[in-house]
């Protein structure tokens, strides 16, 4: 067996000093090499010194901890972050309601277009009128019923701009489920949420619904 070279010794000296070298014969060989090689013996002593230094530095630093002010600052930041997230969640919920309302409006507009195409030309819609004083002026042109058909008068859309006098508006008759009314913010009984009802939607010039009334 060839004796260990200085290069081989250098590769294992850290493990040798730290007792990480499990191969007993290799360990004996390395120690034998250190006995006969002054440079490698000096290296081994240096590694020993380094180990002592590192252990001392490790022990000295073991008790060091983050200053308490950091925990306080982080806790405050955590609470702020939580608030911010809740705000975002609320905004997303509102956005979802908005999207649903817009979808409803598109459906209503589409129904209105179909209904308009069906009425005889020149009869006019008669739909544009004052948003207040809901009466004949705000009823659709093909309105054949009487006021007795109305289950209720126009009810402003919650969170909408409300009904203002002298503001041009249009009445659009639509068929929709009661659940869709819930999306607009009206209270809906879960038992008959799927029931289809007819409703007149008062649509402002900007295309947003202002009020709704149910028709029998």
């Amino acid at each position: 067996m060839n004796p260990m070279t200085c290069r081989e010794f250098k590769e294992i000296v850290h493990g040798l000093v730290r007792l990480e070298l499990l191969d007993v014969s290799l360990r004996e060989e390395a120690l034998e090499h250190a006995r006969t090689c002054g440079n490698c013996a000096a290296r081994m002593a240096g590694v020993q010194a380094l180990v002592e230094l590192v252990e001392a530095a490790g022990e000295d630093g073991r008790g060091e901890e983050t200053p308490e002010r950091v925990e306080m600052a982080l806790l405050a930041a955590f609470r702020r972050e939580r608030q911010r997230r809740r705000g975002w969640r609320r905004a997303l919920e509102w956005a979802a309601v908005g999207v649903a309302a817009a979808g409803l409006l598109v459906a209503a507009w589409f129904s209105y277009g179909m209904w308009k195409a069906e009425i005889p030309h020149g009869q006019g819609t008669g739909a544009v009128g004052s948003a207040v004083g809901i009466g004949a002026g705000t009823q659709p042109a093909n309105w054949e019923g009487s006021d007795a058909d109305l289950m209720a008068d126009f009810v402003p859309v919650p969170f909408g701009d409300g009904i203002e006098p002298d503001v041009p508006a249009m009445v659009v008759r639509v068929e929709l489920t009661r659940a869709a009314l819930g999306v607009l913010g009206y209270p809906v009984d879960k038992a008959n949420a799927a029931q289809v009802v007819r409703a007149d939607v008062l649509v402002g010039e900007d295309g947003w619904p202002r009020a709704v009334r149910l028709v029998q």
């Binding site: 250098k10 590769e11 850290h14 250190a34 006995r35 006969t36 090689c37 002054g38 440079n39 013996a41 000096a42 290296r43 081994m44 002593a45 240096g46 590694v47 020993q48 010194a49 380094l50 002592e52 230094l53 590192v54 001392a56 530095a57 490790g58 000295d60 630093g61 073991r62 060091e64 901890e65 983050t66 200053p67 002010r69 950091v70 925990e71 600052a73 982080l74 806790l75 930041a77 955590f78 609470r79 972050e81 939580r82 997230r85």
Partner: protein
């Protein structure tokens, strides 16, 4: 023991991501000490280390939801964030640190002063016989601080924090073999800094040759 703690960390991170303040506090208190010492050894400045810890947990509270248990342990996720903040802090420090007047680049006094005392170790004495303990520790910390980043990380985790090679590999997201080779190289560099040229070779040889 670490294996048993990991599932709890995963659970804490999940709750933390959902806005649970208690989970955040437990997770913080469990990891802040080790993380602070890691940052301290990496940056060499207590204020910067505290900033690194704070920034790390700030990032964590925003990014906890992105943690994927299949890609590593929560501690590895945390140290990954911390390493980025350490790097940023070092870049910032490097920008604002004034050059020393002696023109040594900040290393001259540290390299030449205490290192001369270390000669005692090579002359067959214990390292602390020729050098006050505090001074020696300070010298070592500065020497570690001058190591390249990837060497400094392994020395900090394995030698100064006493973590196993496996733990260090998990925290640094690299193979154990890489940790071993980097550590070996880092120790060689430290040894070269520690060793004054030609110091006490004969005495050391006699000591280790059994010639007492």
């Amino acid at each position: 023991m670490a294996e048993r703690a990991e599932p709890r960390d995963v659970e804490l991170l999940r709750r933390l991501a959902a806005g649970d303040e208690d989970a955040f506090l437990v997770f913080y208190r469990r990891h802040q000490g080790g993380l602070y010492r890691f940052a301290l050894h990496m940056t060499g400045r207590p204020e910067t280390a505290a900033d690194v810890v704070q920034e790390t947990f700030m990032t964590l509270m925003r990014a906890a939801g992105k943690f994927d248990a299949e890609r590593g342990a929560p501690a590895a996720f945390l140290y990954g964030i911390a390493r980025n903040h350490v790097r940023r802090a070092q870049e910032k420090d490097a920008r604002y640190n004034a050059l020393p007047e002696d023109g040594t680049g900040g290393n001259g006094a540290n390299q030449n002063g205490p290192a001369l005392h270390v000669e005692a170790a090579f002359a067959g004495e214990g390292v602390f016989e020729g050098l006050a303990r505090a001074e020696a520790v300070q010298w070592l910390r500065q020497a570690v601080g001058r190591l390249p980043q990837h060497y400094r990380e392994v020395v900090t985790l394995c030698d100064l924090e006493g973590r196993s090679y496996g733990e260090a590999a998990a925290l640094l997201a690299c193979p154990v073999g890489t940790v071993r080779s980097r550590l070996n190289r880092a120790r060689d560099i430290l040894l070269e800094k520690l060793r004054p040229a030609g110091a006490g070779t004969k005495q050391v040889a006699a000591r280790w040759g059994g010639g007492s």
